[in-house]
Every structure is written in structure tokens, then in C-alpha cells.
């Protein structure tokens, strides 16, 4: 196992953790945090792929790097919108959760 493999496992674990948090946490703020962990995990996997693509005198493939930079900015905008929506919901209703809000509950869909 070398350094690259280590970060690959790290990224994969981050994706799993973030996904778990996104699905199971009821408070929206935690979901947003989990989404960010998930996102950084995906980007890190892209970074591992970039590192594996070191060639032509570069230590890392520049195309995935550029895409990750774009992705980080987009993820930040998404976080901002979600946070503002959450704060507005809280200001209006005093709640910070969505009832029956688990996004990918394929098996537990109660309908409605």
C-alpha cells in the first residue's frame, strides 16, 4: 500500500460517512455538514485519480484538478443556499428538521 492507495481509502471512507450522515441525521444542519463531507470525499477520489495520472512532467493530471476547483465552488454555493433556506424555515417555524425527510429511503417509503 502506498500513499496514493491510502488517500483512495480515505476518500472512499469519507464518501461512506457522508452518505450515512446525509441519510440518517434528522437535523438539516447535520445533513448539510454530511453533504460537505461526502463532497470532499468525492473530490479526494478525483484527486487520487489525478495523482495516478501523473505524466508529462506533471505530478498530477491537471484536468481533474480544474474540475475539482469548479466543484468546490459549486458545492459552496449549494451549501449557502441550503443554509439560508434552513435559517428562513427556522425563523418562520422554529423547526430545524423536515419531518419524514430521509432522501434515499428506498425501502422505507411510506408514501404520501
Amino acid at each position: 500500500m502506498n500513499s496514493i492507495a491510502l488517500f483512495a481509502y480515505c476518500g472512499a471512507a469519507m464518501v461512506g460517512l457522508g452518505l450515512f450522515g446525509l441519510i440518517t441525521k434528522p437535523q438539516v444542519l447535520r445533513k448539510i455538514l454530511a453533504f460537505n463531507v461526502l463532497g470532499t470525499g468525492v473530490f479526494l477520489l478525483f484527486g487520487v485519480i489525478a495523482r495516478r495520472g501523473a505524466a508529462a512532467g506533471l505530478h498530477s493530471d491537471p484536468v481533474p484538478q480544474a474540475l475539482v476547483i469548479t466543484g468546490i465552488v459549486v458545492a459552496f454555493s449549494a451549501t449557502t443556499m441550503a443554509v439560508v433556506l434552513l435559517l428562513r424555515l427556522y425563523a418562520q417555524t422554529g423547526e430545524a428538521t423536515l419531518d419524514s425527510d430521509d432522501p434515499p429511503n428506498a425501502g422505507t417509503d411510506g408514501g404520501r
Partner: protein, 313 residues
């Protein structure tokens, strides 16, 4: 198992531990603090992966601005923690199994791929001279895949509009409700007077040097945004109303110039977003400069939030 490698293993374990901490921490404030540390550690990981431009972006946006945004949110959400029904054990087990499977699949897939990983690095290097830039990542962002960058700027602006749209009707066009210190402490005021000039220089330098070395418009713009926010929070500058003409112009000058240069490409080069051979570098620098400015203003306003009061005349 050399010592550096052991250190690296320890580093990764630390990252994962903090990630877990972020998710399970009881208090939201702790979770957000841990998340900010996590962001900075990830930035270091990016340096280990030889992607310095990404490390800069992650540190600035992922660690800095996102952390700031979330801290502000936590401050407002006060007593809501502990509410909400935690899902039952079956759901947790099902979700947990799914996530473990996903992680395992990803870990194996990313590494098991072709022995010689496919890479676009050779193609980038071949065309780098034509792109008039020295930094390959910047070349991808502003020359080869400039279309993505242009669209991304539009995405940023739409996010800002979306944030503004959540203002109450009566406050439209007013001043964002950025949480300010009622009486900023003298230390904060001192820092807000000392840091911004340095920070602005660093931001400009980061954009300028990004043409040939790690850096670029996004990284520089983020630093500018951070400095602006610091100055506003310490009450050294008033938070501007969103209907101010100069704010609107600053927001769009970057994308407008970028689109204009792109359309110019129809005329003087062969295609949309193509650069004429002689003027490529100055055009790209102009585009990046205005984009840095716009990105700074956009990111700052995104963190500032929707307007919630009309400015007193």
C-alpha cells in the same frame, strides 16, 4: 513502513476521526468547529496529492468561508438541537450496510483500474504553449474548458439570487443581515485594520501569479471576500444594500467581460471562447482580473445572506 508513511497513516486516521466527530458531535457548534479543522486537514491532503491549486481553494472556500457560513448559522439555530426523531435501528443498519458497501466498492474501483491510469496531462502539456499560460490547471480552467468556468460563474450568481429571494418582501433591495458585533472588541478592530491590506495584496498576488504558478482567480477572489467580510463584521465598513448600482456592477463585470471576450472569439479567432494567438495572454489576464473581483464580491455577499432591513436614508 517508513516513518513518513506511518505519519501519513496517522494523518489519514486523524482526518477520518474528525469526519466522524463532525457527524456525531452532540452540539452543533462543536460539529462546525470540527468541520473547519477537517477542511484544513483536507487542504493538506491535497498538497500531499500534488494539487496545490486545489489545496488553496479547499483551504479558502472549504475551510474558511464554509466554516464562517456555518458558524453564523449555528449562532442563529440555538435551541433547535436535540429535536427531530433519530431513525430507528433498522434504518440505521440498512443505511450503514449500504454505505459500507459503497465505500468498499469505491476503494477497490479507484485503485484497480488500468495499471497505467489514463491521463490528459500529456495533452495539456502539448497545448500549454498555445494557451499562453504557464500553470496547467489555469490553462484548463480558462482556456481549454473555459466554458465550464463561465457556466460556473453563472451558477454562483444564480445561487446569490436564490439567497436574496428568501428575503422578506419589505426588505428587498435592502441590507443583508450579516451578523455584526454590536461592540467589536479592540482586538477584532485591530485585526480588521491590520489584515485587510495584507490580505488584499495576497489576494491580488494569488490571482496574478496563478497564470504561471499555483493560484488563480477563484483562490484570490476568496481571499478578497474574506477580507471584505472581516472588515464588515468589525464594523469598519457598512454592509452594502443589495440594490446599490455599484454592487450590481461589480457582481456582473467579471462574467460580462468573460462573455464579451468569448463572443469576440467568434470574430477574431475561430470560435466562441477561443483566443487570438497574439492577444491571448492579455485577454486571459483581463478576464481573470475582473472575474477575481466579481468572485470576491459574490462570495462575500453569499456569506452575508439575504437582506433583512432597508437602509436608513
Amino acid at each position: 513502513m517508513t516513518p513518513p508513511f506511518i505519519l501519513e497513516i496517522a494523518f489519514v486516521i486523524l482526518i477520518l476521526a474528525i469526519a466522524v466527530g463532525t457527524l456525531v458531535a452532540r452540539a452543533a457548534f462543536t460539529a462546525v468547529l470540527l468541520f473547519m479543522i477537517y477542511g484544513l486537514l483536507i487542504a493538506i491532503a491535497w498538497v500531499r496529492l500534488s494539487a496545490v491549486d486545489v489545496a488553496l481553494t479547499e483551504a479558502a472556500i472549504g475551510g474558511g468561508l464554509t466554516g464562517m457560513l456555518l458558524l453564523g448559522a449555528v449562532a442563529r439555530l440555538r435551541e433547535s438541537e436535540g429535536s427531530g426523531e433519530e431513525p430507528g435501528l433498522p434504518t440505521l443498519l440498512a443505511a450503514g450496510t449500504l454505505c459500507v458497501l459503497v465505500s468498499a466498492a469505491l476503494g477497490t474501483l479507484v485503485l484497480s483500474r488500468p495499471e497505467v491510469a489514463p491521463s490528459l496531462a500529456p495533452m495539456v502539456m502539448d497545448n500549454l504553449a498555445q494557451s499562453a499560460l504557464g500553470n496547467p490547471v489555469a490553462a484548463v480552467l480558462f482556456v481549454f474548458r473555459a466554458f465550464d468556468t463561465l457556466l460556473e460563474k453563472v451558477v454562483l450568481l444564480l445561487a446569490l439570487i436564490g439567497v436574496w429571494s428568501l428575503a422578506p418582501d419589505r426588505a428587498w433591495g435592502g441590507v443583508p443581515g450579516l451578523r455584526l458585533y454590536a461592540e467589536p472588541s479592540s482586538i477584532l478592530v485591530f485585526l480588521a485594520q491590520l489584515l485587510p491590506p495584507i490580505g488584499i495584496m495576497i489576494g491580488i498576488y494569488m490571482f496574478w501569479t496563478g497564470a504561471s504558478y499555483p493560484g488563480g482567480a477563484f483562490q484570490g477572489g476568496t481571499v478578497l471576500a474574506a477580507m471584505w467580510l472581516l472588515v464588515m463584521i468589525a464594523r469598519l465598513q457598512p454592509v452594502p444594500a443589495i440594490s446599490l448600482r455599484r454592487i450590481r456592477l461589480l457582481l456582473v463585470v467579471g462574467p460580462v467581460i468573460f462573455v464579451a471576450i468569448g463572443l469576440l472569439g467568434f470574430v477574431v479567432a475561430d470560435a466562441f471562447l477561443a483566443y487570438p494567438a497574439d492577444y491571448a495572454k492579455p485577454l486571459i489576464i483581463t478576464a481573470e482580473a475582473t472575474l477575481t473581483l466579481s468572485i470576491g464580491v459574490t462570495l462575500g455577499l453569499l456569506v452575508a445572506g439575504p437582506p433583512d432591513r432597508i437602509p436608513q436614508p
